[in-house]
Symmetry: C2
Subunit: 342 residues, 2 copies
């Protein structure tokens, strides 16, 4: 049998454990997997593009466990009452190829994206960082706020979005959770006193959410909205002034902010910093940029964590996904045994 | 909600409709999709190899519907009480990226492989073909027998396998279904009077199940066991004497019988024959070879057929795989609404 976490169980699990706790614990799984980065089979995601959006498969394996995520990205979906991004994921046992765990991943991806942001900022942001600016208050924003509080202790937020209803929704969701929230009057206003900036806007277009002159020395920028070909958020000059860190170089060159830059533009894969093989932040004046696009290993970590966390609870069901006749050569017998013609 | 056919419902559906009827109807879906071959996004499968086997993702899309199959291949599994091949598949709506249909595909793949064999033989075998030789009586064999009877009217079978228990199982399964079955004493003996030969053995090795001197003029060979790198069944001389037809040239060069041949060895993609763009059988003496490895479009056809066939029945459940908040930007609200801390 395969364990299955549907949307209802994911919501009950997340509410029961608390999203801030989940993100904080998930960071440990992420760090474990980023530290053994070289063990993983890695490949850029397999994308099927259409005029309306994209459907992608993101596989990886550590040679014990195989995992993949199905995920779509359809920027026009919200206007039609659908989610921009929906996802589900699967883990399988490499030794016999059987799927062992299936989970909804729309909510789980929101948790893992925030956990990844916090893991990277914990290493790259200034130690004395106290204020987070959030540009974009859509689906990912509350998860970002909880991640930075849970992992870095940051509870001062300045937020901005071009959609006033989205800001109002964000404030309504996070004020009761004890955050000190300031609503800015523009993106430039939002980042004025920020130590860390998260950009998470969703236009499928080359946009300039932030210009270089608004970025103060010492800031860490967590750029998660530029994540597919033709979609960027940052002024190229910011990338030139800062040091840029990425997940998986071959994928980020196609999908990230650095798609704007020459092919030989220098970046550092984050796992190297975590392992001590490459420098991260080297001064308090340095601007660090995490050009995050989301990589299969992060989904693998999130699925591993969810699998382990729901074990022993009632937050999953068992589904029968693998036909298993007593005689492995007698698959037909499964049908014949029931067939009325016999 | 996403419609889900688990193993139990697949078995009930297959027994209720009858596997021979299913295969015959599925051939119509396959032919529809092979006739519009050029409309599909096609890519060789995405494989993750390990010492024990392989896990693969097989995506395709016709720009209305997206589909993929997860499938493993672990030749040592039966010795450990597991299936060599297990699979499940997904259809999604390209317009919003939402998954619409999920099905077990261990049994469904067995049905689609047999349906594909029969579709090709209907076009390439001699019109007067009356006897099928089956070399290999494992999981696929009974489905082959039903496919050739349902689609080509063939009910005379000669069978051979190196495992006597597998032959006994096959005879036990198909004799009650009205077939005229002869058990041969060797592979060469089995093919002596055959008009069509199916080879479906499962060793992950370069084997020679049949040599060229045992192949009579006019035979159609349906070679389905050689389907991954390092695994072949036919003497290279058979491929030289016959005309070879394939599903998707770039994938078959890696995985099929023709991996033994030079890179410029001439083959014909079958869809061209079906569309009248390339010759198929041109004489009664010609040897035709279908070097079948299984391609994503066939799984797409099988999933489409299963989806349509179970509609309006109770052979599926609905599962909640896609988180769908009322406000698409308020994903967090799904958790917050339940969270005890609020």
């Amino acid at each position: 049998m395969t364990r299955f976490v549907d949307v209802g169980n994911m919501i009950r699990w997340a509410a029961d454990r608390g999203p801030e706790n989940i993100i904080t614990e998930m960071v440990r799984y992420l760090e474990d997997d980023f530290r053994r980065w070289e063990e993983f089979d890695k490949t850029p995601r397999v994308a099927s593009h259409t005029p309306f959006g994209v459907i992608e498969l993101m596989p990886t394996s550590d040679h014990e466990t195989y995992g993949f995520k199905y995920v779509n990205g359809h920027p026009s979906n919200p206007g039609r009452g659908f989610q921009t991004v929906t996802a589900f994921g699967v883990l399988a046992d490499v030794h016999n190829g059987y799927p062992t765990f299936i989970s909804e991943m729309t909510i789980l991806t929101a948790l893992r994206t925030a956990a990844t942001s916090a893991m990277v900022a914990k290493t790259l942001a200034r130690r004395d960082a106290r204020r987070l600016a959030l540009i974009g208050t859509g689906s990912q924003s509350e998860f970002q706020a909880l991640a930075f509080r849970g992992v870095l202790g940051i509870d001062k937020l300045t937020v901005w979005d071009t959609d006033p209803a989205a800001i109002e929704k964000f404030v309504r969701n996070v004020r009761p959770l004890g955050f000190d929230v300031t609503v800015a009057s523009s993106a430039a206003d939002a980042v004025r006193e920020a130590d860390i900036i998260t950009t998470c806007t969703a236009d499928k277009a080359k946009a300039t959410i932030l210009t270089a002159d608004s970025i103060a020395p010492g800031v860490h920028i967590n750029a998660i909205g530029g994540d597919c070909p033709g979609k960027t958020e940052l002024d190229a000059e910011i990338l030139e002034r800062g040091d840029v860190f990425v997940e998986f170089d071959p994928q980020t060159r196609i999908e990230g902010e650095i798609q704007q830059m020459p092919a030989d533009f220098a970046v550092t894969e984050f796992w190297r910093v975590l392992c001590g093989n490459a420098p991260g932040r080297t001064s308090d004046d340095q601007i660090t940029v995490f050009d995050s696009v989301g990589f299969a290993v992060e989904d693998f970590s999130a699925l591993r964590y969810a699998r382990d966390s729901v074990a022993g609870t009632d937050f999953f069901e068992e589904i029968d996904l693998v036909a298993n006749p007593d005689d492995p050569k007698d698959l037909f017998g499964l049908i014949g045994a029931l067939s009325p013609s016999r």
